[in-house]
């Protein structure tokens, strides 16, 4: 577990630097076990920062999400750095963004948090419903310890752990300026057993499975907006003239949307699982993303978001590249 005092001390140092504009971390949420993103602009604000297994958000998204207004005449744009706290998975988003040259390594200060896993908040809230006053979650000795309403409950780690953490290959951030704790060794991997089972099903069966899921989609685009890799300034989905994707919500357009999104993330998705976490319709989007991730690994021996110096998969070519699947 990250020492909270050390975290705040380092945060205060970083935000006091002249070349740092803002620090993005976590703070307690508004109810129950929730935590939420915190945007710190001065050392006097660091006391609200936390890191616990409730800190599920991938803050790397905010690096590219900022909407910049035109700079008024006579003023210089603010080119100071943004500091961001990242878990292992989140750090891979930074790596991939930088691999794609979304911004330079010198534009961010990365505070790495070696991570032992975060909770699936939906599981927590299903297990302990109706908690309003702020509770706390800690991971101690292989168990989540939840303190709330004057009670303390222990739950085996695997019962509340987020699925992505149970498959995590990189618990320690792959890029950082400062690491806030000792490195955490890999404690899990993805065996793709569920994806392989899905691959083996008949076409008809697979369609039945996805048809039900996609038909629930309300096209709120939370999966796109939360995704650290969906940072196009002008998204194809928002285009009206020409309309590449109709705004109508029906099974045909919903399917087209999810297929398009999955393809746009092929060789880019870093497996943070945020899309699936935020989906109000509970569409298992990571099954699509993991299928592509598995294929990209098997076909091209490429793992997105692991090497800042690497070239993006779709920007490289080798005569040895497999192409037997091309019709």
């Amino acid at each position: 577990m990250v020492d909270i005092n050390k975290l705040r001390e380092i945060a205060a140092e970083v935000i006091s630097r002249d070349d740092v504009r803002e620090l993005i971390g976590y703070r307690p949420g508004t109810y129950g076990f929730r935590a939420r993103p915190a945007f710190v602009t001065g050392p006097e604000e660091v006391d609200r920062l936390i890191f616990t297994p409730a800190c599920v958000n991938n803050l790397a998204t905010y690096i590219t999400l900022e909407e910049k207004l035109p700079v008024p005449r006579g003023q210089e744009p603010d080119t100071r750095k943004v500091a961001v706290m990242v878990k292992g998975c989140d750090s891979r988003a930074l790596v991939q963004q930088m691999e794609e040259k979304a911004y330079g390594r010198d534009q961010v200060v990365v505070l790495g948090i070696p991570c032992t896993g975060v909770v699936d908040m939906a599981r927590v809230e299903a297990r302990f419903p109706g908690v309003l006053e702020l509770g706390e979650i800690a991971l101690e000795g292989g168990k989540f310890v939840l303190s709330f309403d004057g009670k303390v409950e222990e739950v085996p780690k695997d019962e509340l752990l987020a699925d992505k953490c149970a498959r995590c290959r990189y618990p320690t951030p792959l890029v950082y300026d400062q690491l806030l704790d000792d490195e955490v060794a890999r404690f899990a991997d993805d065996d793709y057993s569920d994806i392989e089972a899905l691959e083996k099903r008949s076409m008809e069966d697979k369609w039945g499975y996805w048809e039900e899921k996609f038909s629930r989609c309300i096209r709120c685009y939370s999966c796109r907006n939360v995704c650290p890799m969906c940072y196009c300034e002008d998204c194809v989905l928002d285009r009206i003239n020409p309309t590449w994707m109709r705004r109508s919500v029906d099974i045909s357009e919903n399917t087209a949307f999810h297929i398009a999104r999955a393809y746009h993330l092929a060789g880019r998705c870093i497996q943070c699982g945020e899309c699936q976490r935020v989906c109000p319709a509970k569409i298992p989007l990571m099954e699509l993303n993991r299928k592509f991730y598995k294929d990209v690994g098997e076909l091209y021996d490429y793992e997105p978001g692991t090497n800042v110096e690497a070239a993006p998969l779709l920007a490289t070519f080798s005569v040895e590249d497999r192409e037997d699947f091309i019709l």
Binding site: G29, T61, I218, R219, C220, N225, V226, V249, V278, K282
Partner: protein
């Protein structure tokens, strides 16, 4: 006329009777509860908290065709809502019914929206009182509703254990009672009184609240206040809070052209949290960042709507709080408005 009751044993029979109409009820799709057209009474899932997507979509579909146009044919094929037929929404929550009554004020204001109003006319709302609050973030009493609220409903069912107490509230409700004559029985004399006690108890279980007094008048003066930047900093700009809101009613109208130039004009939900919602053809955007969009969402619900229609356009269902990916909490924002 005596108050009626519906034995839980007869619920299947009652739903079967109602399925001669277009019957919409809560149902499960994986672990998500949605309102959908029910063919088999077994599909109905009445022991639920609240649905993810509010039943507003029944009277105000997310996408609807207004008319179709065909190449070489000057006639338009207009939508006839009447064809959808008499509809019953069974088991919706009082907040969601009240939301329909609130939104109706807009759809019947300067222009009578024929689609929405026709559907409202064709639809009978059978509510299910919230004996237990469906969510920790429910706050309906703060905005003028209640867990046993009747506004907008035609019938209200209350779970009394082995049976539902059936209170008819409108002529449409009475008509539906007649349809169900062979499934309903007379309720015991004290049941209505008992339900009143349950309503008070249910209201006592709702733990979140906000004092709304003064907020509508105060909001316009906070236009440039720093709070908007703070409360919107984490916003991702997705449509969860608006699409899942039972009172949000913004729509866009687009032409969708199919092969060979035939096509349709349709309207679909839009969200003021999307960046292109307020984007002008010139490229100018009067709400250029999430700060302005968040300010608009809150101001519309808590200031513009009440100043025009005398009612806050929020029913306290808590969906936007429960499902916001970054824990933006409308009550937290309103508290900051109060303190500002």
């Amino acid at each position: 006329m005596a108050v009626k009751k519906l034995s839980k044993e007869k619920i299947g029979e009652a739903l079967k009777e109602l399925s001669k109409f277009r019957l919409i009820a809560p149902a499960r799709s994986d672990e998500v509860v949605i309102f959908k057209e029910i063919a088999d009474p077994e599909e109905a899932y009445l022991d639920y908290g609240n649905s993810t997507v509010p039943p507003k979509k029944v009277v105000f579909p997310q996408t609807e065709t207004l008319f179709r146009f065909m190449v070489g044919n000057p006639e338009l094929e207009e939508k006839n809502v009447e064809e959808e037929g008499t509809t019953v929404i069974f088991g919706l929550r009082p907040c969601d019914a009240r939301a329909m009554a609130i939104v109706e004020k807009l759809f019947s204001w300067d222009y009578d929206d024929p689609y929405f109003l026709k559907r409202r006319e064709l639809t009978t709302l059978v509510g299910m009182a919230c004996v237990e609050p469906p969510s920790v973030n429910c706050f309906c009493p703060s905005v003028g509703g209640g867990p046993f609220g009747k506004e907008g409903l035609d019938l209200l069912l209350t779970d009394m254990g082995d049976y539902y107490l059936v209170q008819s509230l409108t002529d449409k409700g009475k008509k539906l009672e007649e349809t169900l004559a062979s499934q309903l029985e007379d309720a015991a004399g004290g049941d209505e009184k008992k339900a009143e006690g349950m309503a008070a108890e249910a209201e006592g279980k709702i733990r979140r609240s906000i004092k709304t007094e003064g907020i509508p008048e105060k909001l316009p003066g906070l236009w440039e206040n720093d709070l908007w930047k703070k409360v919107s900093a984490a916003c991702l700009g997705c449509g969860i809070c608006t699409f899942l809101c039972p009172t949000c009613h913004c729509f866009d109208i687009q032409d969708e052209v199919e092969e060979l130039g035939d096509g349709r004009r349709c309207r679909m939900w839009d969200s003021c949290m999307f960046s292109e919602y307020s984007l002008h053809a010139s490229g100018h955007n009067p709400r250029p960042t999430r700060r302005e969009r968040t300010r608009n969402r809150i101001s519309h619900k808590y200031s513009y709507y009440p100043s025009r229609f005398d009612v806050i356009a929020c029913v306290g269902c808590g969906r936007c709080i429960n499902l916001c990916p970054v824990n933006i909490d409308i009550l937290d924002i309103l508290e900051q408005v109060v303190d500002a």
